[in-house]
Symmetry: C2
Subunit: 241 residues, 2 copies
Amino acid sequence: MSAFVIWRFTLQNKAIILLSGGIDSATALAIATDRGYETYALTVDYGQRHKIELSSADLMAKHFKVCRHITLKLDLRAFGGSALTDNIEIPKGEPFSVNDFNIPSTYVPARNTIMLSMALSWSEVLGARHIFIGANAVDYSGYPDCRPEFIESFQSLANLATKDGVEGRHFTIEAPLISMSKAQIIQLGIKLGVDYSMTHSCYDPSKEGLSCGSCDSCLIRKNGFIEANYPDPTTYINKNG
Amino acid sequence: MSAFVIWRFTLQNKAIILLSGGIDSATALAIATDRGYETYALTVDYGQRHKIELSSADLMAKHFKVCRHITLKLDLRAFGGSALTDNIEIPKGEPFSVNDFNIPSTYVPARNTIMLSMALSWSEVLGARHIFIGANAVDYSGYPDCRPEFIESFQSLANLATKDGVEGRHFTIEAPLISMSKAQIIQLGIKLGVDYSMTHSCYDPSKEGLSCGSCDSCLIRKNGFIEANYPDPTTYINKNG
């Protein structure tokens, strides 16, 4: 094998995974690991109320033995505008569904664009060609930056925005969960060795880190485990769930 | 005038300007002000060696009486890969030109993508429809994220990535300097009231903040003032320039 081929292989073998600490990004990391990539995890501490998810991201990065895990601070509370970063009440009750076209107050303006941009920067430095994001269009149909057309558009941008892209070393944005239900994601993750007890979903946890059980994210999580026919390892404040 | 029309007018009247503290972004701010926008300035402290440009951005924001100026920290030194953030030597001597297709070591991977994403987030919260960036394809032809095709691609992305975009309240990425020479930018800025003594360009300033006079950015700046036939207000370490 020539040095050039080895170099190309090395470049193609690195992947960055946006790791939040929730079910989806943990599963995306499991998929990237299963596909044989040398994995690098990027977590963004953006001032989210549910900061406990950052420890879940740490646990997951260690569990899957990533080559490096960077947590970067970017305080989006400076802009406000979301229930996840601002003094806006977290909605409780029924989760939104694919039939609900109202974008929920937990939407953080341009969050996935910002995070993918940061991952793109690191990818170019590392020579990684693949960026994994756990975006999912089924449960979070209300979030504009979780749709396939957004992912495709970001990939086009990435290849215009960078030295690598311009010189023909293209980036691929991988969103392997985009069309899966939460139950399918959980079933796949379990096969691939995800320990979901390490993950965190709740938008409004108690000080001790217990999940509220009634925000959109908890409801989608609970429902996912029920449909996946797998015991939910989460500790909820209300033990009846 | 109906309440709806007033509301639409208010929305259309806000603009965010990416303000670095250099000649180009100062001029972009002057243009936005001249066009009658209510201006909001965003500066990113990304760990640049020439941190002194942040004070220039402060001065310029005050000079043009922006409604609000936010400086956000995002430490891109965590990724490295650029002479502006890493222990890579700043190139000195001849500036690169439009005929030079080598991307210089001062290129910061995906910097403009990251900054525009942050501006997009704030724009959506503010209801601002216009984002100004001082990108310039003439002097900085080597930077992939200073080209018109990058700006157009980001605008398409912005309108897919956001609640506002999806709901038909479109964003425009304004890059009014993209095809101008540095001399033309300086001449326009002077007409519009920019005090260039407040701006900073040098990539490798002394501890006291004096400009080196020989990095790419200093050379382009000096040349711009000569061609604009306007005295260069910069204090260089070597007084002979």
